[in-house]
C-alpha cells in the first residue's frame, strides 16, 4: 500500500517552463521532506517542512506543506537542464524518524 502518492510519475519539459510535483496522503505527517536523486547516487535532502501551510524556497524551487500536513508540493520556476533527476517526497509519521516514501517523479528538462 502506497501511503504517499506522488504525481506525476514522469515529466519531460523544455528548459524555461514551470512545473509542479505533488505528494498526497490521507495520513498526517509530523514533517515532510523532499529529496533529489541522480543516477548511481543516493537521494540528497533538499528541504524539510514541518508546520502546516509552511512555504520554503530554495532558489527556483518552492516547497509547500499543506495546512493539514497531509500533502506537499514542489514547484520549479524556469526549469533548467540541471534540474533533471528523480524527485522523492517522504513523510515522517512514527517515532525513530522512520520515513514513508513516495515512488518518485522522474523529471527531464530538455535544453
Amino acid at each position: 500500500t502506497q501511503l504517499l502518492e506522488q504525481s506525476p510519475q514522469f515529466l519531460s519539459i523544455q528548459e524555461g517552463e514551470n512545473l509542479t510535483v505533488y505528494c498526497n496522503s490521507s495520513s498526517v505527517f509530523s514533517s515532510l521532506q523532499w529529496y533529489r536523486q541522480e543516477p548511481g547516487e543516493g537521494p540528497v535532502l533538499l528541504v524539510t517542512v514541518v508546520t502546516g501551510g509552511e512555504v520554503k524556497k530554495l532558489k527556483r524551487l518552492t516547497f509547500q506543506f499543506g495546512d493539514a500536513r497531509k500533502d506537499s508540493s514542489l514547484h520549479i520556476t524556469a526549469a533548467q537542464p540541471g534540474d533533471t533527476g528523480l524527485y522523492l517526497c517522504a513523510g515522517e509519521r512514527d517515532s525513530n524518524y522512520q520515513l514513508i516514501w513516495g515512488a518518485g517523479t522522474k523529471l527531464i528538462i530538455k535544453p
Binding site: Q33, G42, T48, N96, Q98, L99, G102, A103
Partner: protein
C-alpha cells in the same frame, strides 16, 4: 557532508549464497537505516537501528537480518540470496527531523 560509506559498491552472487553488505558512518549518529530501491516501488525500509544492538524490522524485512555491534557500523545480511533480492541497497543515517543522509548505494545482482 555526512560521512557514510557502503561496501561493496557492486556485487554479483548466486542464488542460495549468503551476502553481507556494510554501512560505515563517521558521524556517531544513533539512527541508521537499510533500504532497497526498485523501479516502481521507490525506497522501502528493510531494517533500522536506534542504537548499538538495538534494531527493528521495516516493511520488507523477510530474508534479511542486521547487526550493529558498534555505533559506526550497520551490517545487512542476506542469509540465502534469491533473485528477488536483486536491487540497489542504500544505507542512511538520521539527523532527526532534519532528514536522512544516504550512502552511495550497493548494486546487488543475484543470478
Amino acid at each position: 557532508d555526512a560521512g557514510i560509506t557502503q561496501s561493496p559498491r557492486h556485487k554479483v552472487t548466486e542464488t542460495g549464497t549468503p551476502v553481507t553488505l556494510r554501512c560505515h558512518q563517521t558521524e556517531n549518529h544513533r539512527y541508521m537505516y537499510w533500504y532497497r530501491q526498485d523501479p516502481g516501488h521507490g525506497l522501502r525500509l528493510i531494517h533500522y537501528s536506534y542504537g548499538v544492538k538495538d534494531t527493528d524490522k521495516g516493511e520488507v524485512s523477510d530474508g534479511y537480518s542486521v547487526s550493529r555491534s558498534k555505533t559506526e557500523d550497520f551490517l545487512l545480511t542476506l542469509e540465502s540470496a534469491t533473485s528477488s533480492q536483486t536491487s540497489v541497497y542504500f544505507c542512511a543515517i538520521s539527523f532527526g527531523q532534519g532528514g536522512q543522509f544516504f550512502g552511495p548505494g550497493t548494486r546487488l545482482t543475484v543470478l
